[in-house]
Symmetry: C2
Subunit: 659 residues, 2 copies
């Protein structure tokens, strides 16, 4: 084996490089090593950003039963219930972080403990949800901005699409410096939000907190009864606050050693902050009599009451919230392509998703995510409330599967003897005396999130959840179809099955000839150089032209036989295929080597002026065994003229009429 170094040419100026930067070599693929402060910034934006809409979505549902303080006040116990759920999930996920120090996403944990089907379901659910995260976060972010600048309200869809486009370009360029860049908006949000809540609570206790006025309340139609169903529906809408909590368990490898410990501490901090902000917003929103509105978000209403309309601090809290929402969308740009590449690597999605582009980014994944999220934004008119019923089912499904996987794993560990270790697919399982307690915690988490998912599915079925409930099995089916295909191809290509004797065959060369010109001379030169028996074939679409070509062949080439195959229906593909099929029948052991010319132009515009029949021949010969197709290019140079005169006079009628 020989290794030749590649000569790296100086790169020419290109739009691609201007937009995406210079290519990065594979060896520069690095692992980040972030501390807890930066880690919180990187991984918390998705989770923290959901506080921007969770309270609002609870109020939207409760408002269907009227806008009295008593009804909207139910938001407070609902938020406490959600906080309890969040605590359970946090404790359960701490265990996953310690068990899977190399990354414990739902897909990995499911594949490791529950098998491919569970893993594919978890993956399909998560991929769906990552798309929704982009759509929901950007829609909500644009809504925050439009609350401060109502003039933008009619352009919400356009702005959201523009944001997705910019985010896609940035992510195709790759975000190497992500850590520090992420820290700024996350901590800006945290500081402004905590300040807002502190001032708000202070003014509440001081009795100077006013109430919000001038908000255009959402239209709810006739008032419904305050049923348990409605309350559960409000609860499930608010549970969107839990989305993003799994981010740290996916990204453990990004932390400094001791990884698991640092990740676990960061997770606890994140949950604590999330619960604090979420409960405070719900409490204060109730005190200022905030109302759900299509035109102004709850955060904007809070900011307005606490800091006064148009004040710097009001603008800061709105900007901070919009920023954290964009950051949250951006995390999906990391998570979706990575998870899709995992699926593709296991053969459940097209292989192309595993290719890293010039900037080491999974380009196909980024583009797929952006396309799907844009479609969702267009269809749903960039309305957060319309997207929420589709959202979070996927996350809760993956929570349930992941924690169920942990239960299965802990039961296996429970069967080990003290000191014993066994090798799982991903990690080593060692005896653990506290396996029973841990299993109960994971089991509790699985049951709770499972129940919430069912509440989701039932209470939101008609308002949009049906789509996701239908989509996930369809996706899983598609994943297995893809997998089946790759397995079939692997079987087809297996050397054991097909044998691998290297044998030679006689080769018969067939030159396809359209006319007789300099390109044809190239073709014949090549055919003769091959030193195998050869003849030429012309497809006679036009009988007059066929006679001319035959005569020219005899006069100019003067050797080799030219066969004219008539084509009464003016097709190229059928007559060629039939001719080659006959040739194969007559020569059972021979490889038929079809040689075609290709006039290569300097620009695509010029190329479009020619028939480019190579593609047609390629299709015509598709599926034939023992047939190979060779393309002999003949380069046409635009400025190759004998006398420059011809060029300059080309537009005068005299010159042209003589042609």
């Amino acid at each position: 084996m020989n290794t030749t170094p590649t000569q790296t040419k100086p790169f020419r100026f290109s739009l691609s490089q201007l937009l995406f930067g210079k290519p990065i070599a594979t060896r520069d693929l690095e692992h980040q090593n972030v501390n807890r402060i930066v880690g919180l910034a990187v991984f918390a934006s998705d989770a923290l950003s959901s506080t921007a809409y969770a309270t609002e979505e609870i109020l939207f549902i409760l408002a269907l039963a009227g806008t009295s303080s008593a009804v909207l006040g139910i938001s407070i116990p609902l938020s406490i219930a959600i906080a309890v759920l969040l605590t359970i999930v946090t404790i359960s996920y701490r265990q996953t972080i310690y068990a899977y120090p190399n990354g414990g996403g739902a897909y990995i944990v499911a594949r490791d403990n529950l098998g491919e089907v569970a893993a594919q379901i978890a993956g399909a659910a998560l991929l769906t949800d990552y798309i929704l995260t982009v759509a929901v976060s950007i829609s909500s972010g644009v809504a925050q901005i439009a609350s401060a600048f109502p003039v933008l309200l009619p352009f919400r869809v356009e702005i959201a699409l523009l944001v997705i486009l910019i985010m896609t370009l940035v992510n195709l360029r790759g975000v190497k410096e992500s850590g520090t860049i992420f820290a700024i908006p996350t901590y800006f949000f945290l500081i402004t939000m905590l300040l807002t809540l502190l001032v708000g609570l202070y003014r509440y206790f001081a009795g100077t907190l006013g109430v919000v006025t001038g908000v255009e309340m959402v239209e709810t139609g006739t008032v419904q009864a305050l049923t348990l169903f409605l309350i559960l529906r409000a609860f499930s809408s608010g549970s969107a606050a839990l989305t993003g909590i799994e981010a740290i368990s996916n990204g453990i490898t990004a932390f400094k050693e001791p990884r698991s410990h640092n990740a676990a501490v960061t997770l606890q901090w994140m949950s604590g902050i999330l619960i604090t902000i979420f409960l405070s917003i719900t409490f204060l929103a109730h005190q200022i009599h905030a109302v759900p509105s299509e035109a102004e978000t709850i955060i904007s209403q809070l900011g307005r009451v606490i800091f006064g309309n148009g004040s710097i601090l009001y603008l800061a809290i709105v900007a901070g919230t919009a920023l954290i929402l964009l950051m949250a969308a951006n995390t999906s740009y990391a998570d979706f392509p990575r998870l899709a590449a995992l699926h593709a690597g296991d053969g459940f999605l097209p292989r192309q998703l595993t290719f890293r582009g010039g900037r080491l980014v999974f380009n196909w994944g980024v583009v797929t995510l952006a396309t799907m999220a844009s479609l969702l934004v267009i269809v749903m008119n960039a309305r957060t409330t319309a997207l929420i019923p589709l959202y979070a089912i996927g996350v809760f499904l993956s929570f349930t599967i992941s924690q169920t996987g942990m239960v299965v794993r802990l039961r296996k560990i429970g069967r080990l003897k003290p000191g014993e270790k066994i090798q799982g697919l991903e990690t080593v399982m060692a005896y653990d005396p506290r396996w029973r307690l841990k299993m109960v915690i994971s089991g509790l988490g699985a049951v709770c999130t499972g129940i919430v998912m069912l509440i989701f599915a039932v209470t939101k079925f008609t308002s949009g959840a049906w789509f996701v409930i239908l989509l996930i099995p369809v996706l899983v089916l598609a994943f297995f179809r893809v997998h089946h295909h790759y397995k079939a191809v692997a079987r087809n290509l297996s050397l054991e099955k097909n044998g691998h004797d290297i044998t030679t065959h006689p080769v018969q060369t067939v030159v396809l000839v359209d006319g007789v010109h300099a390109g044809t001379v190239d073709l014949v030169n090549f055919a003769k150089s091959l030193k195998h028996p050869w003849h030429a074939v012309h497809i006679g679409i036009n009988p007059e032209k066929a006679s001319k070509v035959s005569a020219l062949w005899d006069a100019v080439i003067g050797e080799g036989e030219l066969v004219v195959v008539p084509s009464p229906y003016r097709q190229l593909n059928r007559p060629i295929r039939t001719y080659i099929e006959n040739l194969l029948l007559e020569n059972p052991d021979t490889i038929v080597h079809v040689v075609v010319g290709h006039l290569a132009m300097e620009t695509a515009w010029e190329q479009a002026l020619h028939q480019n029949s190579v593609l047609i021949f390629n299709l015509a010969l598709n599926g034939l065994e023992r047939v190979v197709l060779t393309i002999v290019p003949h380069q046409i140079h635009r400025h190759q003229t004998e006398e420059g005169v011809v060029d300059r006079n080309v537009f005068t009628p005299a010159d042209l009429r003589s042609n």
Copy 2:
């Protein structure tokens, strides 16, 4: 030379055949032989249909100066002036018909007498106008229908696009039986229109003709002064009535012998009928106080007053008018592709426009026409009045050029001696004692249509004509660019310039290898069968994979050298090109024969799951001399499995986890 008959396979069921019918053999290309009755039906629809909007467009412009009877009454002298113009053009075109018995379209006459530049200008003008004919006729036809059924008014664009789509499909199928099919709607229109006008005139003279009421008048803004400019603008709008008058001179060959005589008589009849209908409509429209309206056409207003709203005869005249308009659009579907094929045959448009599809139709021309007309309908909102300023300039430009060509031709004839003949490009020119009179007639026609064209250009410049005035020179320039390209290619391919010695070269085979599998064995078998020096190359995007491939190569293939070319930036194209370029430098006289494998799937969906790098290699090697590329396909059969069991169990987790 040998001629092998093609085995024609029984055609399988296909969507294409269902839509377009079975292919037709080239020998079945027939010339029609129609008598005058059918000839009138085939060629008159375009001209006659313009009566549906000509009067209306005059009124639209006059209404800008107020809607008093005195102002709108100017439409009557304007229509008489247009009728005089039409008479002059008819007499002039009679002469063309006799001079060019094989078809005397403006393109042919201009090329024959004025040279390529004039011919290309005439052609560009006509092609533009054919597209506008489709857009105008279908928009007006839909407006007629919407006048009778106002509920359709908001869907005019959608209906117009649907009509274009259906017409495109019908024309891709080819209209063999055109003659008789055309006769029905044309004569239906003629009968209903003449009946309407007769009844209308009778009621006018009997004093029982009422006036129209309840029409939503078009909004005109502030009343303008009735300037000469405005009157000329109204005149030029009405001149749209002349469009289509040239159709017979294009289609002389379709007539029975004596062709020229039959065509000339049909032309006279057509002009007579056209003038009668046009003048009567203008006269009656004035009597019933018809007003220009976006919601109801003048024809509908006339029908309503004469026959009563909702009566059968009212519906008949509206239906007849809509039908003739659709027929007029349909004639462009014959004219545009035929003219485009003429241009393409002379090398001024892409060659593909000369290819006849399975149904002997110039498919590319039909699709181009449909696309452009659809775009116009969308941009102009299917409003006839918005399209009219763009319309008819092209036709009048081609009238002027064609008749100027006749003047040049007749001057040449005038220089002949009695009895003398000379051969022109298209026809023989013989001495004609009446050449002076004929030249004056053609000259008068040329001057009149030229003046009208200038009036058009000036009075409608700002309302849309600027676009066509700009477009035509751009098109002519593009045509000559295309022509220049084809000439350059012909020079490049010329055998005189390049010589045509058949020489052989040594061949060096390079096999590109991605992995080592059954497809690779095919590749190596072919490379060895070629019996030229060969080695293999692997582009090492992933160093680990490269080592594996090397090891497998040694173990399985065990002969031939495998060179690994590293690709640190994960590209395929650059490393290959650099490698081949080096090889070419090292072997100055050798043909480098690059052999690549291609995994061919049974469906496009499956194909999309693979990298299909053949295209990448093709681009990578683009422009290199002495390099040929061979594709060795390896067909993957979907259902090739050793044990059927694998297939059935593919969805169980147990089976999959063992993989």
